[in-house]
Each structure stands twice: as C-alpha cells, then as structure tokens.
C-alpha cells in the first residue's frame, strides 16, 4: 500500500447513478477505515483541528478508529459536533481539516471527512446515542430554525441541561439539510432524520409549522411563553434573481424552488403529489454547491444539463468533489459565460437564453478575478428550463418583526462572532442568518459559539 495515497472510497458508477437518487458515495467499511486511519501521523500540534470550525479532536478520534474502537471515536466526535454524519458528507474538507493535513504536503491528505462519516454511520447502525445531560436546569431557551446552526445550538444547550424548544417553519426538521441538499448527497430518512432524532434524544423539543414573525414573534416568545433566551438560526432562504428580461417566463425557477420540490416535497418519487418540471434541456446559472445540486438533480430527472458560470473553473465556489461528480455524471460546464436575456415563446414559456462570453480581468473585492463581458460574443442556446442559482439572502420575516434587532444592509442580523450576541438582550444569532449563505459547518460553529454565549448570559443573569 502506498502510504502517500488515500484508501479509495467506493462510489456508485457514474452512469448508473446519474439516473437514480441513491447516495453517490458508499463510504468506507471497517477495514478500509482502519487502513485509512493508519495513515494519520497523530500530530501533537494538529493543524487539521485548526481548520475545523467546531474544533473536533481529529487525531484523537482517528487514533481510536486505527485501533478499531469505533464507539470511543464517536464519543470523541460528538463532544464537538452534533451532526457528524452530515459533516462527513457535506463539509468542504479540502479547504478545512484536510487542507491543513501534514500528509497533504507530499501526498494526499488523510480522508478525515470519510472517516468522520464512517464513525457516525457506524454509531447509527449500532444504535449508539450521544450522552444526555444528567440534570435539567429548568431554564427555557427557544431556537428558531432546525438547520445546522439551530440543531447544533439546541444540542449543545440540551447537553448543558437547558429546556430547549426548536421552532421550524417547514413541516419537517433539518432546514437546508432537508430542503436544499439532495438525497444522493445526503440521504434524508437514513442520515438527516437520524441526526435530528439524536438531538431530540438529548431532550430537545421540535415544533414544526411555526413561522416566527408570523405565527408568533420573538418578543411574544420571551414575554408570553417564558423563554429566557432565543437563538436565531433561520438561515438565508430568500432566492436571488438576475433581473434580466424573460426571467418571469414559465420554466424559470430559483434553485430553491427546484430543490425544495425535489428534496422536501420528494417530487422525484411518483407516489408524492407535488409536481416538478424538469424539461429536456436545462440551464443552471451559477457555480456554487447549490448549482451543482440543482444540475445533478435535473440530470437524474432525465435532462441534458448545462452549468453556465461567469468565471472560470478555478473560481467555482462549489466543493471540488461536487464539481468532479457532476462532470462524471455528464453535466456540461459552460464556463466564462453569462446569460443576458432569457428567450420566451408565444405561450410564455422559456425557450432558451442569449449568452455572452466573458474573460477574467483584475481581481475584485472578493479577491477573485472579475469577469468582464467580451463585446459581440453573444450566442443563443436552447433550453426549456432555466434554474437560477445565484445565492440567497436572509429572510426579513424575523428581523422586521423583532423590536431592537439590528441588521446590516444585506439584511443579515448583526451578531458577535464570539458568542452570537445581537443588539437585543437575550437574543443570539448565528449561521447564514448572520453571515449570508455559507456552509453547514460554519453555521454549526456559530450555533456552538452561541450555545456557550447563551449559557454564559443565563448563568450571570
């Protein structure tokens, strides 16, 4: 065995999987996991931990995997992470833990994400639950939103003995893990529901179908329902559109709509009532993880799919693995291109797009080279569905109905990074609601920081 190379992870064949919604990556078995764990150098000054937003004791848990002590490995991870089966699947490890791995200097970094996933899956299959608080302290905390930030914050507070209720606007808990990330990347009943159950097993109550700001406000929760502190982890759910002609035509969807129909409402299954329109030739505009998810979903529904992105491959914000998988599955990448108009037929349906080619100019504020239009390079491409995946912004429903809660000009709630404190006493916030659309693990890090912030606040009250 070449110690510089990773133990390869088994995957579903690209041709087969591009027509089904089963999980792409099959994960390690016990032997593979132990072999991969043996590659870890067990660094004293572990760089990988510095790259982890929730500071998992990575050499610690991998050391246990190496010895075959999987339950111990799980307990080490669950001290820091409420959702290891999720993180092992969707974290951008290449820019976090694995990006800092010393093994990565000469060879391939240790597959930390795949090992985390293995440990979490093993624990679930062996019915091992995270440890519950020994005693409740009687203090009530409300958590708004059951996505990664909310679940983490609620789980951590419950472990400290708080009486936590999560309020979820949709009919199912999980937030973006349920409505956004597709089944083939993150199985819903097997993985997400099981992680939600783990949080519930800590004593956390989840009330679905409650839209904070509409059904009840934060002020009412605090004044009338006895919650002493509130954590807002309501995410960034509002879709952006381009504002180009033809965008209101039939067949033009936000990635949120397309993915919500498919993932939350399970439109890909014949037995569910919710329809989805996929078409024969689909354009997905954007280059993030959500764009990859939408493209790969459309591919599975039987369409020819083009990703149209205005910068080059190097700037694609999506995880490397998602881009790689999308290409394997036959998604076509039209890079350095941008739609300027959507073409509409007499019946009002989209029939294509007018696209302009781009080149990279000087770096912009994000540090990436700014894409510049090449004059006269427009061409037309046919499409019967166009999916806009241009990012999302926080929903103003909560900020506009909560007295004294400050937001910035991007509608994001202003919160202290260290402890989640907002401008309103007793109200904390974190995740995409504060940062704008980011990653699952950053939201979890913020949920964790806020749990400590809330504990400190209520302890000193």
């Amino acid at each position: 065995m070449d110690v510089l190379k990773r133990v390869p992870v088994r995957e579903q064949d690209a041709v087969v999987r591009s027509a089904n919604f089963d999980e792409v990556c099959l994960g390690y078995n016990e032997e593979e996991a132990m072999a991969e764990a043996a590659r870890c150098l067990g660094c004293k000054n572990a760089m990988c931990m510095k790259g982890c937003p929730v500071s998992i004791d990575i050499p610690g848990f991998i050391g246990q995997v190496k010895e075959g002590n999987f339950e111990e490995a799980y307990q080490i991870i669950s001290k820091s992470s409420a959702l290891p089966a999720v993180c092992g699947r969707v974290c951008p490890q290449e820019t976090q833990c694995e990006g800092k791995c010393i093994r990565g200097i000469k060879g391939e970094p240790v597959s930390i994400g795949k090992l985390e996933r293995f440990v979490a899956d093993w624990a679930r299959e062996h019915n091992i639950k995270p440890a519950k608080a020994e005693q409740m302290n009687g203090h009530k905390v409300a958590v708004i939103g059951s996505g990664p930030a909310g679940l983490t914050c609620a789980g951590d507070l419950a472990k400290m003995g708080y009486d936590v209720t999560i309020f979820e606007a949709l009919h199912e808990a999980g937030g973006v893990l349920i409505y956004g990330i597709p089944e083939f990347r993150l199985p819903k009943s097997e993985v997400v529901a099981a992680e939600v159950e783990n949080v519930k097993s800590l004593g956390v109550k989840i009330e679905t179908n409650v839209v904070i700001g509409k059904s009840v406000t934060i002020d009412e929760l605090m004044e009338k329902e006895g919650f002493e502190a509130v954590f807002i982890g309501s995410g960034a759910g509002l879709p952006k559109f381009m504002g180009i002609p033809g965008e209101q035509a039939m067949g033009v969807f936000s990635a949120n709509e397309f993915l919500t129909r498919n993932n939350l409402m399970k439109a890909f299954l014949e037995s569910y009532d919710t329809p989805i329109k996929c078409g024969k030739k689909v354009i997905v505009v954007g280059g993030g993880n959500v764009a990859m998810d939408a493209a790969r979903t459309a591919k599975r529904l039987g369409a020819e799919v083009h990703i149209v992105y205005r910068r080059s491959e190097e700037e694609l914000p999506a995880r490397v693995e998602e881009v790689h998988h999308a290409k394997e599955e036959g998604v076509i990448f039209d890079l350095l291109q941008n739609p300027v108009e959507l073409l509409v037929d007499e019946a009002g349906c989209v029939k294509g797009a007018k696209i302009i080619k781009m080149e990279l100019g000087e770096p912009d504020a994000s540090g990436r080279r700014r894409p510049v239009e090449i004059p006269g390079s427009e061409y037309e491409i046919e499409a019967d569905v166009v999916i806009m995946s241009l990012g999302t912004s926080p929903n103003p429903l909560i900020s506009s109905t909560t007295k004294g809660l400050d937001i910035n000009k991007r509608q994001c709630i202003i919160a202290d990074e260290a402890n989640g404190a907002t401008s309103k006493e007793g109200v904390f916030a974190g995740g995409d609601a504060v940062t704008g659309a980011a990653t699952v693990i950053l939201a979890m890090g913020a949920g964790k920081a806020a749990a400590n912030g809330i504990h400190e606040y209520l302890s000193n009250k």
Partner: protein
C-alpha cells in the same frame, strides 16, 4: 396532527372545514393565508383564512377540489386531521390598519367570484363588527356554485348576486353588475376584488376606467409560503413581488394579470397527470401526447 372539527359541503366540489390550529388562530388577521398538507405525500396547499375563532383555536378554510391533494382532502371527515397546518402567512389586509372613522365615510365595494367569496367574507364581517357597512357583489357560474350567501347577507349592506347563466340573481359577471350599478348612479371610493385571476383582471380593467382604487388577493402557485422558493413571484408595477410575503393583497391596477395567469398554469400538465394517476392508477408518466 391538526384535527378537523367541522366539515360542510358548500357546493359542488366546494367544502368548508374548521381546523384546530391554536398557534394560527392566536394572531391571524383577515387577508392572511395558511398552508395545509394532508399527509406525508400531499402537496403544500395555500388557502386563504376564511374565519377564525381565537377562543376555540380554530381556523375556517374553504377549498375547491381541483388538484390531486385537494381531491383527497374531500375524503377527510370530522375527527380526521391535516398532518401540517401552518400560518398565518402573508400580510393582513390593509383595511385592518385604516382609521375606522375614515372607513365609515368611504363607500366600499367587495367583488367576490366563485370560491373567492370565502376570503371576502371575513373582511366584510370584520368591517361589519367595526361598524363599517359595505356592499358586496358575489358571483358564480350558476346557482349551485354560490357559497356563503346567507352569511354574507348578514354582514353587508347591499348584496348583489350574479350568475353567469342567469339561474339566480343578475345574469352576467360581477364586472357587468358593477357596470350596471355605476350606470344607475351608484358610486364607490374603494374596491376589493377576490376570485379567479381572470375575474380580478376584468374587475380591475373596469375600476381603473371608473377611477376606483382596487385591491386584489393573488393566489399563485407556492411551495413554502415564507419567501423561500420564489414560485409565487408576480410583476406589480415595474417590480417583482413575492405573493407569499409581500402580499397576497396588491394594488390590482398594477398587477400584470396576463403573466400571472400564465404562471399559474405552469404545472397544468404535471398536475393533470397526478389527478389521472389518482383516478386511474399509476399509468401516466407523460410522453404519450394525450395527457394535458
């Protein structure tokens, strides 16, 4: 589960239900809506709140069996329930924020079409309770499809009933009835029109000519109802609005109805297939060229 405590058939394919949903009933106001989901496989269906009882914690909904999920809702009886019932969503009617004394000086007209009569009723009732009297034109295709006539008559000043086929009341549309009243010299300062989009379009066309400010309640396709999916987007004036969070009520003279109607038909083929699947089993997957 959200239990059904009352069920009544109002007309062919039109049903009324009172559903126990205390969180929704606690703070809801006229003009807002709920989303209901019958069971695991059901769609999320937006329905305007037709009445509410804060003490009992109940919400009244009225629906017409048109799609696969609403067909299945017909089978629900008292004692059954909805798996999910979320709200109140959207903004309340502007009327509830206006000065009552000023409202009393205004001549207000409601035009209700078909199942749209249901959301008009709570607004008229609310105004009646505040001591504000208004007129109502309510219409349907024929006498059998009229709903809530007695209830409406009890809370409005003048009720004008119309049927397209003349089987009851004025023969013609609500728009034609308004024109007839106007020709007789009846004047209004404010109009609220709720019903099928085509009806709201023509009411607005007339009220624009007559110079009567008109509010409409839009009922486009939605998924989440909280601003997340953008399926319900409409062009109002020169702006794109989301009916779920910016509405559902808008200035009817600014709404692009033609586009809204096209967008509402977006899933017609897929919905048709779902209904056929419900009626005839799992036989319709498209591509046969006959399923529309």
């Amino acid at each position: 589960m959200y239990p059904i405590v009352k069920r009544e058939q109002l007309a062919d394919k039109i049903y009324l239900m009172d559903v126990k949903a205390p969180r929704v009933a606690q703070y809801c106001l006229p003009g807002q809506f709920v989303i209901v989901k019958i069971d695991e496989v059901g769609e999320r269906i937006p329905l305007t709140i037709c009445d509410y009882n804060r003490e009992e914690g109940t919400i009244t909904i009225v629906f017409q069996a048109v799609g696969a999920s609403t067909q299945r809702m017909v089978d629900l009886q008292v004692g059954d329930g909805f798996q999910d019932f979320v709200g109140p969503l959207g903004c309340e009617s502007d009327l509830v924020h206006e000065d009552i004394e000023e409202l009393k000086q205004k001549k207000i007209l409601f035009v209700a079409g078909g199942v749209g009569t249901a959301p008009v009723y709570p607004q008229v009732k609310w105004l009646h309770e505040q001591g504000v009297e208004c007129d109502v034109i309510m219409g349907a295709r024929n006498k059998e499809l009229l709903i809530l006539e007695d209830e409406m008559r009890a809370v409005c000043k003048n009720l004008y009933v119309t049927t397209d086929d003349g089987s009851y009341g004025f023969k013609g549309t609500g728009t034609a009835q308004l024109q007839a009243l106007w020709d007789e010299g009846v004047r209004y300062d404010h109009c609220v029109a709720i019903g099928p989009m085509i009806m709201m379009k023509f009411v607005c066309k007339l009220t624009k000519e007559l110079g009567i400010p008109t509010i409409v309640s839009m009922n486009p396709i939605m998924v989440d109802g909280t601003g997340m999916c953008g399926a319900c987007r409409l062009v109002v004036g020169d702006q794109v609005k989301f009916a779920c969070v910016d509405g559902p009520e808008f200035d009817g003279h600014l709404v692009d109805f033609d586009q809204a109607m096209r967008r509402q038909a977006q899933y017609k083929t897929e919905e048709g297939r779902a209904i056929l699947a419900l009626e005839e089993g799992d036989t319709h997957h498209g591509g046969c060229g006959h399923c529309h």
